[in-house]
Amino acid sequence: MQTTIESRSRTVVIGDGAPFCVIGERINPTGRKAFQAQLQAGDLSQLEIDVAEQVAGGADVLDVNVGDPLADEIELMRAAVPMVQGLTDLPLCIDSSIIEALEAGLGAYEGKALVNSVTGEDERLNLILPIVARHGAAVIGLANDDEIPMEPERRLEVARKIVSVAGDHGIPPQDVVIDPLAMPVGAEPRAVTLFLETVRLIRDNLGVNMTCGASNTSFGLPGRHALGAAFLAVSQSHGLTSAIMDARARECVESVRATDFLLGQDEWGARWIAAHRAKLAAQAAQAATS
């Protein structure tokens, strides 16, 4: 199954032989006090840096979250989406828990966006899916309802429900990307094994594409990038087809591209080798100017 997301001029495919889709997570004020203050002042200039760094890091899609409770998130989203689209031709993932902000973002977006996100709760499904359908977007479905099930089978059931209700709203399964819920392994030793089992179950039973907040896994731990790289590789081998992740973390992005190659999604390593050449060229260019 293939999920496509589009900007004006670029189409990104998730799943079915396509390279793993790296969704850059950086445009998000969580844990960024300075960025929060800028958002409260209506200042979006930080996005120029965030976009450039993630594009350079190798992101395929960029997540846009400008949620701050002391800022006007709806107006910020309305302004941020065209601004980011002016800075890059990567497709975007519109990220908010506020319905009006999702609508504002989708209204301002040119192309087919990914919406982050809906849960399996009836109230959220009924609020968000009509908007997704109206804009012809794709949507991320979190495999939890009012609680996070700690059994993979129950997460599968929530995922199944989301795909089914999305269908009722005219959203086909290929436009539903399930998040099997990556949780901090530092707080729950079984977090990742549960996750992997859930990924496998969803792949075998629903066949839909999957993404996750990969950075959650390493929360509160040292060596986050090394943990992230290992988590991504092992998840990819179980059937994960995308991740919302730190596209500025070279270790993580390289792990994903290496795993693409190892799992036969980068025939003859053409992209792996091209990336190597691009890196050499960039180094040479930098040496020449310094």
Partner: protein, 222 residues
Amino acid sequence: MTTDEILQGLFDNTLIGNAPAVKDLTNEGLAMGMDPETLLYDALIPSLEEVGARFERGDFFVPEMLIAARAMQGALDILRPLLAETGAKPIGTFVMGTVKGDVHDIGKNLVNIMLEGAGFTVYDLGVNVAPEKFVEQVQEHEPDIVGFSAFLTTTMPMFKANINALEKSGLRDRVIVMVGGAPVTQEYADAVGADGYAADASTAVRLAKALIENRRSAAAPA
């Protein structure tokens, strides 16, 4: 083993999260006739405070904090009934939960353990708690304090929704509201009309005690 060795052993083993040793030492101390309060206040709480300080400094990581808290929890399970027997009244009652739309609970759980260690009775409502649920539980338990936790900038607005729900049910004046979580600031706590905000678990406990004391002395007849 001397009483000092028991206290030192409790401190050291809580620090490294050795739950079986903490449980054994607690039982051993009690068998030697040591006071439950001594074990709690001279070893367990100082140890967990040290864990918190190391975490703040970046010397300790989340799993170390959690296993230390779990080790202390094991000791508390033994000590709680004894502390109740000695007639030590709970310092206060706390209803606690992560707000609706948010499922992060690591910080909240740590605050709960610190509160219990300090002598509070804590009713933990878990994660993704709707305003109606907070109202219902405040009605049922009549706590001194209700605590709202949020980890995401996008779920912080639920503080206000919860406070509004308490107001609508006529409960707002009967309970102290504390808020916390990674993105929360004093400024935001003030903006939503909370009574207290703390940046970490130890501060939360100190503030909770102070807020209860203020309220009780304000309520006492002059």
